[in-house]
């Protein structure tokens, strides 16, 4: 991967992935989902999840699964608001860069 993913973009991607699951999703699946679109190290995501949880963008609950507790992450209201902000920002940012690359912007 040539481009690096900054903290904000990683937050946005994780929020987007979690928001797709109404009932919440769990660490391993989040990692696999993120890694299906972005080449990040598996060890990068735990701190992101932990931080989003502390910032109350994600909430967690434990549910029994296969004889053990599995921790689920679910997006909160605040998380949704944050995700929407990221979406708007990303749209503006990516549109400009795409236009520039495709020659649409006259400098």
């Amino acid at each position: 991967m040539v481009f690096n993913t900054g903290a904000a973009l990683l937050d946005a991607i994780v929020l987007a992935v979690v928001s797709k699951e109404k009932d919440g999703t769990y660490g391993y699946k989040i990692t696999q989902d993120v890694r299906s679109v972005l080449d990040v190290s598996e060890s990068t995501l735990y701190p992101v999840l932990r931080r989003l949880q502390k910032d109350e963008c994600l909430e967690t609950y434990d549910q029994a699964y296969a004889g053990r507790n599995r921790r689920y992450y679910k997006i909160t209201e605040k998380g949704m608001a944050q995700l929407n902000l990221y979406r708007v920002e990303w749209k503006a940012y990516s549109t400009k860069i795409s236009k520039l690359f495709e020659g649409g912007i006259e400098l």
């Binding site: 900054g6 990040v40 060890s43 502390k54």
Partner: protein, 231 residues
């Protein structure tokens, strides 16, 4: 390394963070291994990297809970939490141009000058040979200095000749005066040519010769150390 060893090491490495944070992280990674399944265990360990890396990332995140982890630097975007091969290739920065060490040149020159001064004191054939070699080596320097002296002399004589010629014109013999002025102008033009040569020699040629010579000396001195890697 298997899962149990990995988790054991991670636990040790996280011993200096709060109990709550440590337990949270350990639970997460235990779950992670569970969800990945036993057959993926080796793969997960490989992907996570070392327990040290996992611990470092967790601690780094706890340390600066601000949002600004990454920054743009000369070698691209750097996120201090993540420093693996997937990020901007660090090798690019490491492989950048590094000027060769040029130290020691001044030392070589100083030694040479010293040799010139002490060479008469060194008795015998060896001393004579060294003195000769040093003189030969310093020949370009002497030539350039000589050229400078000649240029100055030409200018001085030219000015005198022109002055004398003008004097002669005013007093008695205009013909001799014209001759004097003519000779003076010729000398002046020769002096200018000499000046151009002197400037070129002292600013370009001499440094180049010196550089080549000191490189040569450096090679001789380093030959033993480098073991002929230039060959």
């Amino acid at each position: 390394m298997n899962r149990a060893q990995f988790m054991e090491q991670l636990k040790k490495l996280l011993s200096d963070i709060s109990e709550e944070e440590r337990q949270e992280a350990l639970d997460y990674y235990e779950s992670y291994f569970d969800d990945a399944g036993e057959d993926q265990e080796a793969e997960v360990i490989r992907e996570l990297g070392s327990p040290g890396k996992v611990a470092a990332i967790i601690k780094e995140d706890l340390k600066n809970s601000s949002q600004n982890y990454g920054e743009f630097t000369e070698s691209g975007y750097q996120d201090e939490r993540v420093d693996d091969e997937r990020q901007m290739p660090q090798s690019r920065a490491e492989k950048g141009y590094h000027a060769e060490r040029r130290g020691g040149k001044a030392g070589v020159i100083l030694v040479l000058i010293l040799l010139v001064f002490i060479s008469p004191l060194i008795k015998g054939v060896a001393g004579g040979i060294i003195g000769f070699i040093v003189a030969l080596i310093l020949l370009p320097l002497i030539l350039v200095l000589g050229a400078g002296a000649v240029v100055i002399a030409l200018f001085v004589i030219a000015v005198i000749a022109i002055g004398a010629g003008i004097g002669a014109c005013v007093t008695a013999a205009p013909a001799f005066g014209a001759l004097g002025i003519g000779i003076g102008l010729i000398l002046l033009s020769l002096g200018l040519v000499g000046l151009v040569f002197f400037v070129w020699a002292s600013s370009r040629a001499l440094p180049a010769i010196l550089r080549r010579f000191t490189d040569f000396c450096g090679n001789i001195l380093n030959r033993g150390k480098k073991g002929g890697d230039r060959a």
